[in-house]
Symmetry: C2
Amino acid sequence: MLNNADPHRAADGVDLTPSRDAVVYEALKTEFRALSGDVPHFAAPPVIPFKTAERAGYISSFPHLVGTVYTAPTGAEPAVTDLVLTPAACHHVYPLVEDVTLEEPMLLTVEACCFRGEATSERGRLRSFRMIECVFLGGAEVVAQWRDSALEQVSDWLSGLGLEVDAAPANDPFFGSSSRVMASLQRSEELKWEVLAAVDADLVQAVASVNCHREHFGESFGFRDDEGALGHSACAAVGLDRVLLALRHRHGPDTAAWPRQLTARLGI
Amino acid sequence: MLNNADPHRAADGVDLTPSRDAVVYEALKTEFRALSGDVPHFAAPPVIPFKTAERAGYISSFPHLVGTVYTAPTGAEPAVTDLVLTPAACHHVYPLVEDVTLEEPMLLTVEACCFRGEATSERGRLRSFRMIECVFLGGAEVVAQWRDSALEQVSDWLSGLGLEVDAAPANDPFFGSSSRVMASLQRSEELKWEVLAAVDADLVQAVASVNCHREHFGESFGFRDDEGALGHSACAAVGLDRVLLALRHRHGPDTAAWPRQLTARLGI
């Protein structure tokens, strides 16, 4: 009756995760974190101040995806709170370096259950989903270098799990009011890369993305590099739910029947 | 600069969890789940259908605590969605047994990051917090028995972690429109027990609660016991953030300096 192997759908794009899948997510997070070595890690909450998301440029770039929290403290009409649902894990870390001068580049990882108000709910299109990210902060040059190495590292990691992945330059209007200019810049400078994998027959999705934000967050949150210039940042983000879908598509729906080398490696 | 030992406050009652604390939460969840043996476990999302929370009686009982998700799909005025923030982990499991006849009692565990729109944010009063629960479903008699044993088990577990705990009968208006009647019934029949511990000097809070819901959820979700009567249910819920506060208050702020027996046991 209670099948503990299949996810249970609570609503469109909102799943209840059975323990067998939760174990895989934990293993994937452990492996992803190990790529960066022993660096600070944060488990971020599923809500974030509106102001932080706004300063990150998310509100103006993706107004249609933002989930805003309302409450009715007096039981009367609902009123907007100071919180939105966390749209991306890394938005939680920039306030930690607000107005900080980075004596040396900083590397950290952060995970969160994120929310996006997606209008459709095909396979892999979730409203509530798990994201883990590695974030690198520092000067322009080392950040650009890190982004390149992170793209290779994440692609290699996913390949090592048996997935056939492709990296492709992409763009999204991530930069607020100047979004159209920035989208073009993103494409021409290849600031954003997506790592694509099949999550179903005839359905290829981005399971990870690696982004160079240039000085976007440095400007918004006031952090600087060791020479006093606006700090640059880059992140490598993995959509864990999609990685699990891709692994199931590749190795079969029953995680216990996956290749023994993989189950041993993941400890599942 | 980035102290990986202290939680970082993102907003009132909303914390970013450093890895040192995340490790303790994982260890506590593992221990709590082990109390119930090898039973189905679910990781629930931080959002839940409004309808589920409404059928659970939460919306009418705690309207002032509900966080409702709004989106603006067309970028225009925000509109209410079908989702609220998960107010209690166990609300996610009752739809799994909708209209089911339980041939035998069912025991399961479920965890979620929960949200309540608390008006204050003193120590231990969080808007976003971690809950893990054990839920027992079955006939009236076995459920009442389980509730009693669960109260002892959870109290013993917390005592075993070095906490001085007290169990006290409590009441909350958990039963919708008939809340006043039920609150009185809860007190007189001792349906709700809280397990209290000091989380700070002169600050004692409920770190867990053990509740008998009688046929409340059986009626709302239509599950029945093996004799065809309305199913009864009970749950034991632990507020993990408060347990960690209580452990810090008891053993010191630095988890690495806790008694070796405890750190060894928790594997931290």
